[in-house]
Symmetry: C2
Subunit: 239 residues, 2 copies
DNA sequence: ACGTTGAGATTGCCG
DNA sequence: CGGCAATGTCAACGT
């Protein structure tokens, strides 16, 4: 559906029409009070009001990040020269408008949404299907094996029948090693599993994480996502 | 400086004029390939090209976050119906334009920037000036006391002359306790400091973090930022 | 509602 | 440039 853009004078604009995105270029100051305090001196900026009720204030820098914003649910009270956006937690965003240079509203309609491939869940799926890609002889016991502090990504048995806990990350950093160490501590309380080997798997593992892993007796394995994906696709083609 | 907005037909628009923000509402598909793969089916969206070279694609939801984007430094090659944004790491953002509903360019000029108050650095500064707000009798030895795994926020001595390591967070969570525990491990290797007390300080400390701290022999102290700030301002007024 | 975890996290700092 | 820590992190998902 094609919607002709509607132009109006500022005074004619409603506070916010449902289903419309509103863009305003204005010279303004902005103040945020909430989790912290932030202030923006007078300058020309873009103000975006989305149909979801969110308000963002953009400069011509900082890439996609706004200088200030308010996430829905929030309420916008707009006078001629002062907008106050507030939420139920007592946070407020106050925009003082000195001059509105232009504004426009446009209907975008619902977005069919974003499809992603290559996130951690995809990596976990590929490795669950082929744990031998991590280490020879590994057999999967369970994905998301539960402990009382959260689920371990993969629980396996190695060629010698020993339990192996695997933590998978896209990027291997120190936090991931600590996480696996906490799981291992828990799993070792289970007599049927003890002693449990730990393997930290990622597409790339940072040196600091490798050092900590070594200190904790945890093995590190780097895997190639594209190769795994290729092997999986090949298998699909065969069957 | 007041700049009259400039409207042009799509064909007349340059690839990207330096110093201008460009906004386009168009029916398009978007594909990102890089750290992962992402695809957006055909729909009407807002495309924002900032003066810093960044490109973002917004729907009317997801608050301030774009569906897809490319951060600078990146290059935009624009044909009539196809934009390709790429960077030196081989990531690409491809926008196929089916119909441009409108577009505008506007000069915003440099932004004077964002001033923040109440972030962790401010809290650390206030507590460095008044460590007795954490515990009676504390005297500051050094801020950012170095260890080989990173600096401790504050190193103090308590009333009994014992070394005290303080880790400060705005919000106290389990990671912060682990971090302090690692520091304590290191500091205890130093005979001039051993044994080192640990105090975990935050505006609010989550129960899980308190439990872990207790298990590690670390004290927890919650502080009131506004009260500290008030006391500091009062002192400034007195002198 | 709360807690946990992932994210194309981004951003800023310092070595 | 690379590692590290903070972020108004946000958002999705499970309890």
């Amino acid at each position: 559906m094609l919607v002709v853009p509607r132009w109006r004078r500022p005074a004619q604009l409603s506070c916010h029409d449902v289903g419309l995105m509103r863009l305003v270029v204005a010279t303004c100051t902005v103040d945020y009070t909430g989790r912290l305090s932030a202030h923006l001196p007078m300058a020309t900026r873009l103000i975006m009001v989305k149909a979801d009720g969110s308000v963002s204030v953009h400069s011509d820098g900082r890439a996609y990040k706004p200088l200030n914003w308010m996430t829905p649910p929030c309420q916008l009270r707009a006078d001629a020269d002062r907008w106050v956006v507030s939420n139920s937690k007592g946070e407020t965003l106050t925009i003082e408008l000195a001059e509105v240079l232009w504004e426009v509203e446009h209907e975008l309609g619902a977005d069919p949404g974003l499809r992603k491939d290559g996130v951690e869940a995809d990596l976990q799926e590929l490795l669950a299907a082929r744990p031998e890609a991590v280490a020879e002889g590994l057999r999967l016991v369970r994905r998301e094996y539960p402990t009382d502090i959260g689920p371990v990504d993969l629980l396996c048995r190695d060629a010698e029948g020993r339990a192996v806990a695997i933590e998978i990350k896209r990027r291997g950093e120190i936090d991931g090693v600590e996480q696996l160490a906490r799981y291992l501590e828990r799993l070792d309380l289970d007599g049927r599993l003890r002693p449990v080997r730990g393997i930290f798997v990622a597409q790339q593992i940072k040196p600091q994480a490798q050092v900590l892993a070594a200190a904790r007796g945890i093995d590190c394995v780097e895997v190639d996502y594209d190769a795994l994906r290729g092997a999986a696709d090949e298998r699909l083609t065969l069957f």
